[in-house]
């Protein structure tokens, strides 16, 4: 039983948190791809930028003496998301819209997004330096330890307050997105444009409006994902740049352009990564009692050493491209 609780602590909770973050990032990438047909590399910077916006707001609120029962990062999240959406809209207006207007191909937009990535990275580093920050410098990170001795476990179930909130907030965001896409006029128009942009235009759908809404949603969700990532670990300028591969892998595995696919892909990659670096030795230790001397389990028995965690997303990506390039939910492939 102790081993099971350990497994839940190390894999189920950590995987759900990581998967949520990947999913929120991948949704934005997949929506932008569906509407504008280009891989938006600067998405990682929308996440990092959003996290810094939330951090500034949290610091500001704390300085004003605002107190709340939940971590400040979550209190400011709605406001930060609004600002994140404005930020994304501004980037589109400043950098991508002029290129689209000129009739530039999607590949040009992709390269422009690299330029945007570097600019935002540079600005963040310019103002915040390259060190790391924590949301929990002035407030404690509440940790819940649920005693599991009733079930015969010597270990408690450990979950932090931000982790509970993250999983809850992600669930709310996903449900809200689902309702938006299936119930609202604009959400349906978004799906229509992702399905067939020419026909959407012919139908009289205001495509410029749909593009704006896409950036708003992508920016807000990116801000949310970035803030959550910063709350779970620490805030630093290359926060999201380091996870751009798993996020893109999640979007592709789920099927580019498919919002639900991105959620599935994000969770899949989040869990796969945590499972791959999980030390099985801790769970299988009881077996040592029955195993003969020469088969004793080593101290560490992980599928992939932690240094190579990145390979997990890459391998899943490669397998997807080989077996089913359109992804789980049948997105674009050529």
């Amino acid at each position: 039983m102790t081993e099971l609780i350990f497994f839940i602590n190390q894999v189920v909770i950590a995987g759900a948190v990581l998967g949520s973050i990947y999913a929120l990032g991948a949704i934005g990438i997949t929506l932008i791809f569906g509407i504008l047909r280009f891989a938006h590399f600067a998405h990682s910077e929308l996440m990092t930028g959003g996290a810094f916006i939330a951090f500034l707001l949290a610091t500001l609120f704390a300085a004003w003496g605002v107190t709340a029962p939940i971590p400040m990062g979550f209190v400011v999240l709605p406001l930060a998301m609004v600002l994140g959406a404005v930020f994304a809209l501004g980037i589109d207006k400043g950098f991508y819209a002029p290129l689209r207007k000129r009739g530039a191909k999607p590949v040009t937009l992709l390269i422009a997004s690299i330029g945007v990535t570097l600019m935002i990275q540079g600005l963040i580093r310019l103002f915040f330096g390259s060190g790391s920050y924590s949301f929990f410098e002035n407030e404690p990170k509440d940790v819940f330890r649920v005693d599991m001795s009733a079930l015969g476990s010597t270990r408690p179930l450990v979950i932090t307050e931000p982790q509970i909130l993250m999983i809850a907030v992600t669930a709310i965001a996903v449900i809200a997105l689902h309702l938006f896409l299936t119930r609202s006029r604009l959400g349906k128009a978004m799906r229509a444009m992702a399905d067939n942009a020419d026909l959407a235009q012919v139908s009289g759908i205001n495509t410029a409006l749909v593009v704006r809404v896409t950036w708003v949603i992508a920016g807000a969700l990116a801000c949310m994902a970035g803030t959550m990532l910063a709350l779970d670990v620490t805030l630093k300028p290359d926060l999201a740049f380091n996870i751009i591969l798993p996020i893109f892998a999640a979007a592709i595995v789920g099927g580019l352009g498919q919002a639900y696919g991105a959620i599935a892909g994000g969770l899949l990659i989040g869990f796969a990564e945590t499972l791959a670096v999980f030390n099985w030795s801790m769970v299988l230790k009881p077996l040592n009692a029955v195993l003969p001397e020469w088969m004793q389990l080593p101290q560490t028995l992980a599928l992939v050493p932690t240094e190579y965690k990145l390979t997990v997303a890459f391998v899943i990506l490669v397998v997807t491209l080989l077996v089913r390039p359109t992804g789980i939910f049948k997105g674009a492939s050529s």
Binding site: A112, G122, S130, I252, F314
Partner: protein
């Protein structure tokens, strides 16, 4: 067009003279050797992007492979390793690898004995898993043993130029694998896959201490041409010896550069180049004309990567140290992109011009940014706002912003670069 190019190159020459005047000859000669290596790498990207329309956001990885290759080939032999059980254990790991590979191949051929569909897939996955476990069971102790008893495997003591070639070969291998998987799908997939492979190469090189010494770094890596010390031993004074040595190195790189440029220009002017342009500009119709688009793209992707591998190897040879932690996507991938975009994608001379110009600007922008920030800080200190804290690091971060700004501005206002592609009329 020719006139414009000549003017631009003349301007570049003047810039080099100015830098030489201000920063001194030793500094400038160093930067020129590096610029020559970067020209080779930029030419590689120009082949991929300018000719083939293929993304490569993993230049860093290919350069790192070159660095590892030249270190392995040219660094002196490590007798401690060869005298220990290390080679024997590595041999066993190799056999385990072979056995694993055989297992996977056998599983993939299992349809011959009547295993089909989902069962075959499951069997293949199982074979991969068992093969992986078998290999790990041999390589892990071998790696630990080597690190404990011999430090690392050391080099082979071969000629550095052999190492450069080997760097090209390794890069070609990595490019072949990535290209084989992603070419023929959306071009965005290639972009993501190359980012992935380069990050994985970085993780491997950093952490495989037994093979690369990882973050402990390897130095000094020998030069292919005589070092300044060799000239000094022959009776030259320090300054002349330095120049002679760097001149020799530069000459060697320029010879390689000239050969590459000659071969590529010839190929691109011929039927092969015509086909490449047709594929890039009109994917679908060339496919319907019966040209094997994917195979051609794979060729071009591998060729470009070879140049990146060689360039990366040359750089490591020149600085004489292989330090995996010095590699950053910004300096080693996106800087090259800026070179090609600013220079002119599709035109080799444009790419070369961009490489030299951007490299020089990148290098001198560091002291310039320091100067600028120092001045601003001084002013803000005087008017009572206080001086800027940790100015040194902030100034260098500013350069990243400028790099990004250059990309976006170039795309918007000069999408074809300073020396654009010459549009040939195909008849």
């Amino acid at each position: 067009m020719i006139r414009r190019s000549l003017t631009l190159f003349a301007g570049l020459f003047v810039l080099i003279l100015v830098i030489g005047w201000f920063m001194g000859v030793p500094f400038t000669s160093s930067r020129l050797v590096e610029a020559a290596a970067y020209s080779l790498i930029a030419m590689g990207l120009n082949i991929q992007w300018g000719y083939g329309g293929l993304f490569n956001f993993g230049i860093m990885g290919f350069m790192m492979l070159g660095g590892v290759a030249v270190t392995f080939i040219s660094y002196p032999v490590n007798p401690q390793f060869w005298g220990s059980d290390g080679p024997w254990m590595l041999g066993r790991a190799l056999i385990a690898f072979g056995a694993g590979a055989l297992l996977v191949i056998a599983a993939q051929q299992s349809h011959r004995v009547g295993v089909r569909g989902g069962w075959k897939m499951a069997l293949t996955a199982l074979a991969w898993f068992i093969g992986y476990c078998v290999y790990r069971s041999q390589i892990d102790p071998a790696a630990a043993y080597i690190e404990a008893n011999a430090g690392w495997v050391g080099g082979l003591g071969g000629h550095p130029v052999l190492g450069w070639i080997f760097g090209g070969v390794l890069a070609a291998g990595a490019a072949y694998i990535v290209g084989k998987i992603t070419l023929g799908l959306r071009t965005d997939y290639l972009a993501i896959a190359t980012i992935g492979i380069s990050e994985i190469i970085r993780a491997l090189v950093k952490n495989m201490d037994w093979l690369t010494r990882g973050t402990l770094t390897v130095s000094p890596i020998p030069w292919p041409t005589p070092l300044p010390g060799d000239y000094q031993a022959g009776g030259m004074d320090a300054q002349t010896a330095l120049l002679a040595a760097r001149g020799g190195f530069l000459l060697l790189v320029l010879v390689i550069f000239a050969v590459a440029m000659f071969l590529i220009s010839r190929a691109y002017a011929g039927p092969w180049g015509r086909m490449m342009r047709a594929i890039r500009d009109n994917h679908i119709s060339s496919a319907s004309m019966g040209k094997n688009v994917t195979a051609r793209q794979l060729e071009i992707f591998v060729f470009g990567s070879v140049l990146m591998g060689i360039g990366g190897a040359i750089l490591v040879s020149f600085v004489q140290i292989n330090d995996p932690s010095s590699y950053q996507p910004i300096n080693h991938t996106f800087l090259i992109w800026v070179m090609v975009i600013v220079g002119g994608a599709g035109n080799n001379w444009g790419a070369v011009f961009g490489a030299v110009l951007i490299w020089l600007v990148w290098i001198i922008s560091d002291p310039l940014a320091q100067l600028l920030f120092g001045t601003i800080s001084h002013w803000s200190g005087q008017i009572g706002w206080g001086e800027i804290p940790d100015i040194q690091s902030r100034a260098s971060q500013m350069r990243i912003f400028v790099l990004g700004a250059v990309i976006t501005i170039a795309l918007r206002f000069a999408p074809r670069g300073l020396i654009p592609e010459v549009v040939r009329r195909e008849g």
